[in-house]
């Protein structure tokens, strides 16, 4: 089984895995970083979203063999104390219901606001449309992204 050296949340990790293993399963089953959730495995629901070189990426589609040399950030590494402006906004608005999709939602929102810190409502709605929430907490997510953009500016 090949060995890969990965840079995750600022530290270097070595993992043994088959080359076709999605990064999500390496994070979850081998490294205990369970913030990236399994939802569909085909990049449709966004629950497994992480940042690769600052870009929101589906960790269920990225293979471990493609992840070497990339700057990988999971929700566990988004902020030291869980106080990233997006996380703060999520708490203030009280977004989650069941909560399962929320780390993916937060990671998508954080990467989006990094590129567009003053988004319009339509821009938020389009940026977040890749993340499904069966509890349908969408109104609250929209509000929290707006609030986070206020905090960032």
């Amino acid at each position: 089984m090949p060995s890969y050296q990965l840079k995750i949340n600022g530290s270097s990790k070595t993992v043994d895995a088959d080359s076709d293993t999605p990064l999500m399963w390496v994070l979850r089953d081998q490294l205990g970083l369970v913030g990236a959730k399994y939802g569909c495995g085909i990049g449709q629901c966004g629950t497994c979203t992480i940042h690769i070189d600052g870009v929101a990426t589906r960790s269920c589609l990225l293979l471990v063999s493609q992840s070497v040399g990339l700057d990988i950030v999971t929700i566990e590494g988004l902020s030291e104390k869980g106080d990233h402006p997006v996380q703060q906004a999520w708490k203030e608005v009280d977004v989650p219901q069941c909560g399962y999709c929320q780390s993916g939602q937060i990671m998508t929102a954080a990467a989006f606001l990094e590129k567009n810190s003053k988004p319009s409502t339509d821009e938020i709605r389009n940026a977040m449309q890749g993340n499904i929430c069966r509890c349908a907490s969408y109104n609250s997510i929209e509000k929290a992204v707006k609030l986070a953009s206020d905090k960032l500016s």
């Binding site: 939802g39 449309q129 997510i141």
Partner: protein, 717 residues
């Protein structure tokens, strides 16, 4: 206003206190007993010890309050709202309260369920009594210390005061209080004195959720745990003939392959290897019973509606006579597909079966029944089973069924390994316990401009309507009224799905009333208000809805939505419903964009009595409305030769953010005991949207999902 739904209970049967060895006081109470007063506890009350209680309040020497909550949390917010009721009457500051998911096992805790939007309604009285009783004991202890009468003492935010200006915080008297008798007849606060109930309180797990901490079943790990992916029959009605596991065993990380019943489990070191191994299995299946398709179901259900094999669930007067004598009869048929639950967290469960015990861990709405069923199936005593609940990534009814836990137990029983069964999304959607496909035929008779008869017929796969639902509005408003049901027994598994039994019915009846009002040439709102007028003062005990409360939500929705005064280009649709003890009226505003209806806004008026946690309540209401729109517009699972035709989100559409309206929530303010919100806003919204589409296009859509019936080529995006 009077308080209704007051539940009777005996305080002695569920509350005990004692001092803690390390200082402080613990109050044990039997939440099940408290919340389900009609059920007799299976234990001898005189022999109670703390292991028999399933919820605790702990007050430390420092006055910190910990509430151990045992109830399954599926996103409905009871882990926050139920402790709020206790904290209110205990009279402590919410910031000093720490809520912990109680450690659970079926030996000591066999009585917890999440379902039916009932937790708050049934816990309202007893949970406040629990808090108030504890407060009174603390006050009594302080009064004794001061040598004053307890009636001269006051409390606020965990501090007891008396007329002399003395002060003691709860922590200073807990040890004395723990030794006192449990007082009877404690007084509850007047709602105007509430300081926690009615406040916006954040989800108690929010810090863990926003930082991605392990909370859910899928996150559960244990030393030596293996992962099991299960290959199940690809079509309903099939059985396993034989299989070849050579390629599966060749997958790196696969440890074993075992057959159980008509399924094959691939056991591996990690989830990915288990999934890969499962995909590498070669199996042969045989069709053992009917291979059903959607066309087959349509034919069967339509045949039932046209036939005479109905069971009558309610019959008032003579609908046939009313129809025979009518000037006009309106008859319409409504159709809906199967729906999978699609909890964002796919099904999973951990089991470790050993000679000594059965350890179960995972997300389940019915832990007690599941533990008991597994003990029975494996020929073990239920006392050997322990069950720990994780937070659930959605339930919506799917996690009422413990099939995945049974699978985990079966596999662990065969291998003796600690096993977590993991469903892929495809497994989750294909091995569902679906909302059944249902068709309704509704007919109404009009004579001299008046509604004289109403006949509702249901044809459903397996089963649907039951209980008090045939007595929902318009039952009670009409002299001639009848509800008939018929079922086709299918091999496809069906069950409860968010707002079971009414999630499609409410949409149909609200569409039908819209059409009826048009035919009668009366205002839709007036038609409802007038019919409800006739229900007032009913002595029919089967009628649980309140005509006054329905009228009030209708008036509030009309006012807040600018009903009838919408801007140009905005088309409105109205809907009203009572279910799960809550009264709801909704108005959908849509605009047409390239002939496609876009729901811009939904105004919701809700009467759920006292709003315990407005923040959480709004989340439930908004979620229910958007979830309802999503499924009415897009939700559909079809079958071909017994096989589900969608198994992942590339072929099954759930509503996404860019398709969602703004939901504007308004509460009827009163001091009536609270009712639940996890379900009741979902059922009516399909009707509001269908009526708005009619208002915009002149087209009545009577079949869900609406997207298939709009003659449109593309979905908005």
């Amino acid at each position: 206003m009077k308080t209704q739904d007051t539940l009777q209970f005996s305080r002695r049967s569920f509350l005990r206190t004692s001092a803690l060895a390390g200082g402080g006081m613990i109050i044990g109470f039997n939440l099940f007993n408290a919340c389900k007063p009609d059920v007799e506890p299976s234990i001898d009350l005189s022999q109670l010890n703390y292991n028999d209680f399933n919820a605790f309040i702990k007050i430390s020497d420092e006055g910190k309050v910990t509430i151990f909550a045992p109830n399954p949390e599926i996103g409905q917010g009871v882990k926050t709202s139920m402790p709020m009721l206790i904290a209110e009457e205990l009279d402590v500051a919410w910031k000093d309260v720490h809520v912990v998911q109680g450690a659970l096992d079926t030996k000591n805790y066999t009585r917890q369920v999440a379902g039916g939007s009932q937790s708050l309604r049934q816990g309202w009285e007893p949970l406040r009594q629990t808090g108030a009783t504890a407060r009174q004991m603390l006050v009594n202890a302080a009064a004794a210390k001061w040598g004053v009468d307890a009636s001269e003492c006051n409390t606020k935010e965990g501090v007891i005061t008396n007329a002399n200006g003395d002060k003691l915080h709860y922590g200073e008297v807990v040890n004395e209080a723990a030794g006192l008798d449990v007082p009877e007849n404690v007084k509850l606060k007047d709602p105007s004195d509430f300081s926690i109930i009615g406040q916006d309180i954040s989800n108690v797990d929010i810090d863990e959720i926003v930082t991605g901490k392990p909370l859910f079943g899928f996150d559960y790990k244990r030393e030596g745990m293996v992962y099991a992916a299960v290959l199940r029959p690809p079509a309903f009605g099939q059985k396993l003939v034989e299989f070849n596991d050579k390629n599966a065993r060749a997958v790196n990380g696969v440890k074993d392959v075992v057959r159980f019943e008509d399924k094959i489990a691939v056991i591996a070191e990690n989830t990915w290897a288990a999934f890969k191994g499962k995909d590498a299995l070669k199996a042969t299946w045989t069709q053992d019973s009917e291979a059903e398709s959607t066309e087959f179901h349509d034919e069967k259900l339509m045949g039932l509606l046209d036939g005479n094999s109905f069971e009558t669930l309610r019959k008032d007067g003579d609908v046939q006579k009313a129809f025979a004598e009518a000037d006009k009869v309106l008859e319409r048929t409504y159709e809906s597909p199967f729906l999978p639950h699609n909890c964002m967290e796919p099904m999973n469960f951990f089991a470790h079966v050993t000679e000594e015990k059965i350890d179960l861990v995972g997300p389940i709405q019915t832990p007690a029944g599941t533990a008991m069923g597994i003990a029975r199936k494996l020929g073990r005593d239920v006392s050997e089973v322990s069950l720990e609940m994780t937070r659930m990534g959605g339930g919506f009814g799917r996690r009422l069924y413990g099939d995945f836990a049974f699978e985990a137990a079966d596999i662990s029983n065969l291998t003796k390994l600690p096993v977590q069964v993991v469903f892929s999304r495809d497994d989750d959607m294909a091995a569902g316990i679906y909302r059944p496909a249902i068709k309704y035929r509704i007919a109404a008779s009009i004579k001299d401009g008046k509604l004289t008869g109403y006949h509702l017929k249901e044809a459903a796969i397996n089963s649907n309507m039951y209980g008090l639902i045939p007595n929902f509005f318009p039952a009670g408003a009409l002299e001639n009224y009848q509800v008939d049901v018929a079922n086709y027994r299918s091999n496809i598994t069906t069950g409860a799905w968010r707002a079971p039994y009414t999630n499609f019915l409410a949409s149909c009846e609200n569409s039908f009333f819209d059409e009826l009002a048009e035919l009668m040439e009366v205002d839709r709102i007036k038609l409802h208000l007038d019919l409800l007028e006739k229900v007032k003062g009913t002595t029919d005990e089967r009628i649980q809805y309140s005509a006054e409360r329905l009228q009030d939500v209708i008036k509030l929705a009309v006012e807040k939505s600018n009903w009838g005064k919408a801007k140009d280009g905005v088309h409105q649709g109205f809907s009203v419903y009572y279910c799960h003890n809550t009264h709801v009226a909704e108005v959908a505003d849509i605009i047409m964009d390239n002939d496609f209806p876009i729901v811009k806004k939904v105004t919701v008026a809700v009467d759920c009595g006292i709003v315990v946690n407005p923040l959480g309540a709004k989340n439930q209401i908004v979620g229910g409305v958007i979830d309802g729109i999503g499924h009415a517009m897009y939700g559909e699972l079809t079958f071909s030769d017994g096989e589900p035709q969608s198994t992942n989100f590339n072929t099954y559409q759930l509503i996404r953010m860019n398709q969602t309206p703004e939901v504007d929530v308004h509460f009827v303010k009163n001091n009536i005991a609270p009712t639940g919100l996890g379900e009741p806003t979902l059922p009516p919204v399909g009707g509001a949207v269908a009526n708005a589409i009619y208002s915009a296009t002149g087209k009545r859509i009577r079949k869900q999902p609406f997207i298939n019936n709009l003659n449109l080529k593309e979905v908005i995006g």
